[in-house]
C-alpha cells in the first residue's frame, strides 16, 4: 500500500507496538502531526518542553523495559531534546527519538530552524540516522528500534527531513532485520563462566556488586537466587537499586560516595568481587587505587568496552547479564555447591559489626524536619511499593538510601548524567505506563524548577503524580560540598526568592500542601497519598543544613568515609 513518509512513520510505530509518543509539534514535523491526527493507534502526549518529552519517554522505558519514543521538530526542538538523549545514553535506556529536519533541498543552507541534529547528537546516541529517501524510512526505523533495544540499550535518533514525510512510497512493516555490523554477544563464554564459578566456590569473603545492567536485562530474579545460593553480601549501585531486595538480610545497601559503611567496608575487604552489570563509575570506586584492594574481580557485562575500562578485572565475561547469571547458577548447582557456613559465618560476623555502626541513623528530636525521615515516611505510607522518580542532588541520595526498593524498575533516576529536571517528566512516563500505580517524584526546590512547566502536561493528561519536594532552600549538594571543601562559602547555592509552591501547584490546577513541623509531616504525607486522582505537590520544608552521610570525599578510598 502506498503511504506518505509521515503515514509510514505513524503506521510503523503502531506496528512496532508503540503505545505512547512524547512530543511537541513544529514546522518540520507538521506532516507527521497531521498523520498522527488521522490515526488512532498511537497516543501522543503533548509536553511543554522537548527536554521533558525525552525524560518522559525515558521514565516510560525504565519502568517497563520497552523503548520510549519521542517526536520533536527540527532546530530548537532537537537541541532541547539533547539533554534527555544524553541522560538516556549515560544510563543505557532504550529510546527512539524522531527529529524533524528542514527539507532536503535546504539542508546546509542555514535554513529557518535548521540544526545538524545528527552531528549534535552523535556523541550521545548509540546510533543515529538521517533519512535521505522515503524508501529507506521503514527499514531505518526498524533498525533504530533494533539497535536501541538490543545489546547495551541506548537512544537512537532518526532525523527526517520534511520533504521525506510528504513523499509517497510502498509500505510494508519490516519484520526481519539483519545487520552485518551489529551483532551483540548475549551468551557468556562457557570457559569463563566455569573460571568464575571456581573463583566463587573458593571465596572466603565473597561479595556481589550489581548495577543497572541487572535492571535493564530483567535479571533481578537470577541475581537474587545467586546471592542467596552464595550467601554473600550484596550491594547495589544507584542504578542497580531494586535488583536485589533491599529488605533482604544480605543486602548491605548502596556503595560508593554515599554508600553505607557496611557496603564500602565489605568492598574494601572482600576477597572475591562479583561485579554484575555495573561499570565501576568514579562515584562508585572513589580512589581507584584503593578500590577493592584484596579482591579478585569477576565482571559480567554486555558491553566489552565497560570491562577493564577503569578497574583491571581477573575474569571478564561478556554477555547478557541474565543469561550469564543463570549459567553460573546452573554450573553451581551441577557442581553440588554448598556454601561453607563456617568460613562465611566469620565474614558475616565482620559485616554485622560494620552494620552495627548504623551509618544511616538520624535524629528526629529537633524542631526541623529531617529529609531522611520524610523519605522513611513516604516508604511506610506507600508500603514500599511505589514507583519513585527523583531529580539530582541530596534528595536523590536520601531517596536512594532510605526508600528501600524491593523490586526492579521502581527506582527511576538519572544516575550517570545527573540531570536536574529529570524527576517530574520521568514520573509522567511512569504514570502513563502504570496508570493504577502510585508514582512519587522525590525532588528538591532547585531541581523541580528545571521542568516545573510539566505541571501543565500532568493536568492535561490527568496524571496523579505525588511530588514530594524536600525543600531546604539550598542547592543542597552544592552547599554540602561548599561546607566541606570551600570553608562554608555558599557561593550561589542559596535561592533567595522561591515561589510559593502551594499556590503554584494550585495555579496549574493541582493540589498544593505545605508542611514544616516534624509533628505534622506524617499527616501531610498521608493526606497527599489519599488524594488518589489528583496531582499533589507536597512542599516539605526541611532542615536547611542537613548533609548526606556517609560520604567518601573525592580522591579518598571507600574505607575512608566521613560518618555522621
Amino acid at each position: 500500500m502506498k503511504l506518505t513518509g509521515a503515514e509510514i512513520l505513524t503506521r510503523f510505530l503502531a506496528d512496532e507496538g508503540v503505545e505512547y509518543v512524547f512530543g511537541y509539534p513544529g514546522g518540520a514535523v507538521l506532516h507527521i502531526y497531521d498523520a498522527l491526527h488521522r490515526q488512532d493507534r498511537l497516543k501522543h502526549i503533548l509536553v511543554r518542553h522537548e527536554q521533558a518529552a525525552t525524560h518522559a519517554a525515558d521514565g516510560y522505558a525504565r519502568s517497563t523495559g520497552k523503548p520510549g519514543v519521542v517526536l520533536v521538530t527540527s532546530g530548537p526542538g532537537a537541541t532541547n531534546a539533547v539533554t534527555g538523549i544524553a541522560t538516556a545514553y549515560m544510563d543505557s535506556i532504550p529510546m527512539v527519538v524522531i527529529t524533524g529536519q528542514v527539507p532536503t533541498s535546504l539542508i546546509g543552507n542555514d535554513a529557518f530552524q535548521e540544526v545538524d541534529s545528527v552531528g549534535i547528537t552523535r556523541p550521545c546516541v548509540k546510533h543515529n540516522f538521517l533519512v535521505k529517501d522515503v524508501k529507506d524510512l521503514a527499514m531505518m526505523l526498524k533498525k533504530a528500534f533494533y539497535i536501541a533495544t538490543t545489546g547495551r540499550p541506548g537512544p537512537v535518533v532518526v532525523d527526517i527531513p520534511k520533504d521525506i514525510t510528504a513523499e509517497v512510497t510502498e509500505y510494508k512493516y519490516p519484520r526481519q532485520i539483519e545487520m552485518r555490523s551489529y551483532n551483540p554477544v548475549v551468551k557468556g563464554h562457557p570457559g569463563q563462566i566455569k573460571r568464575a564459578v571456581k573463583m566463587m566456590v573458593g571465596a572466603k569473603r565473597p561479595m556481589i556488586y550489581s548495577g543497572g545492567g541487572v535492571i535493564l536485562d530483567d535479571a533481578s530474579k537470577a541475581l537474587t537466587e545467586l546471592g542467596h545460593l552464595l550467601n554473600c553480601p550484596v550491594t547495589n549501585t544507584t542504578m542497580g537499586l531494586g535488583g536485589f531486595p533491599a529488605s533482604d538480610r544480605q543486602f548491605v545497601g548502596l556503595l560508593g560516595m554515599h554508600g553505607t559503611y557496611e557496603a564500602n567496608m565489605a568492598i574494601s575487604n572482600c576477597d572475591v568481587m562479583i561485579a554484575i552489570g555495573a561499570r565501576f563509575d568514579d562515584r562508585v570506586t572513589g580512589n581507584i587505587e584503593k578500590f577493592a584492594p584484596k579482591a579478585k574481580i569477576i565482571h559480567v557485562d554486555i558491553d566489552p568496552a565497560s570491562i577493564s575500562k577503569n578497574v583491571k578485572v581477573d575474569v571478564p565475561i561478556v554477555g547478557g547479564v541474565n543469561n550469564v547469571v543463570k549459567a553460573m547458577l546452573k554450573q553451581l548447582k551441577a557442581d553440588g555447591f554448598q556454601p561453607n557456613e563456617e568460613v562465611l559465618g566469620k565474614w558475616w560476623e565482620q559485616i554485622e559489626k560494620w552494620r552495627a555502626k548504623d551509618c544511616l541513623k538520624y535524629s528526629t528530636d529537633g524542631d526541623r524536619i529531617k529529609p531522611q525521615h520524610a523519605v522513611d515516611l513516604v516508604h511506610q505510607i506507600t508500603k514500599g511499593d511505589a514507583f519513585v522518580t527523583s531529580d539530582v542532588g541530596q534528595h536523590q541520595m536520601w531517596a536512594a538510601q532510605y526508600y528501600g526498593f524491593d523490586k526492579p524498575r521502581r527506582w527511576i533516576n538519572s544516575g550517570g548524567l545527573g540531570t536536574m529536571g529529570f524527576g517530574l517528566p520521568a514520573a509522567m512516563g511512569v504514570q502513563l505506563a502504570h496508570p493504577k500505580a502510585q508514582v512519587v517524584c522525590i525532588t528538591g526546590e532547585g531541581s523541580i524548577q528545571m521542568n516545573i512547566q510539566e505541571l501543565s502536561t500532568c493536568l492535561q493528561h490527568c496524571l496523579p503524580i505525588k511530588i514530594v519536594c524536600l525543600n531546604n532552600g539550598y542547592l543542597g549538594m552544592v552547599r554540602q560540598w561548599q561546607e566541606f571543601f570551600y570553608d562554608n562559602r555558599y557561593s550561589h547555592s542559596y535561592m533567595d526568592s522561591l515561589p510559593d509552591f502551594v499556590k503554584l501547584a494550585e495555579a496549574y490546577g493541582h493540589v498544593g500542601i505545605q508542611v514544616d513541623k516534624p509533628a505534622d509531616m506524617e499527616g501531610a504525607i498521608k493526606e497527599t497519598f489519599k488524594l488518589k486522582d489528583r496531582l499533589v505537590f507536597l512542599n516539605i520544608l526541611t532542615d536547611p543544613e542537613e548533609n548526606v552521610y556517609p560520604m567518601v570525599p573525592a580522591g579518598a578510598g571507600l574505607d575512608e568515609m566521613i560518618l555522621i
Binding site: 556523541p123 548509540k126 538521517l130 535521505k132 552485518r180 568496552a305
Partner: protein, 164 residues
Amino acid sequence: MRHIISILMENEAGALSRVAGLFSARGYNIESLTVAPTEDITLSRMTLVTRGSDEIIEQITKQLNKLIDVVKLVDLAEGPHVEREMMLIKVKTSGAGAREEVIRLVEIFRGNIIDVTPTTYTIELTGHADKLDAFIVALDKAPILETVRSGVSAISRGTKSLHV
C-alpha cells in the same frame, strides 16, 4: 606504542565523523587516517595510526567495535604486516646542478618525477613512513614548495585477511 588499526566499515555518510568524533571525545590521538571504498562499494576500509598504552589501545579497539557502522577491525601491529605511505612533493630546482641532484635522489629512493617545469619537479614516492621522512631530510638543499602525504595504508602479511 604505535598501532595501526584497520577498520572495515559501512560506506555510509557520517561513518568517518563517528570515528573522528570518538577519538576527540575520548581524548585519543590520531597520527594518521586514510579511508576509501573497497572492492565492495558498500564497505570502506580505514587505516588509523594511533599511539597509546596497551590499556588505551584495548579501549580504542573496543570503542571502535561499538560503533554500529564498524563491521570488523584488526590491530595490524599485533602481527607481521606491510605498511606503505605515498607522498607527492613539489621542490624548487634552480640550476642544472640542483636538478641533477634531485633526479639522483629520486632514483636512489625509487621515486618518480611526475611533473616538470623549468623551475620545479613534482615527485611521487611510496614506502614506509620512515623512508618518506628520510627523503625529506635528504632533499636538504632543494627548497620544498609543497608536501602531500596520504597517511599510512597497511595490510597483514601472509594469508590472513580482513574481510567480511
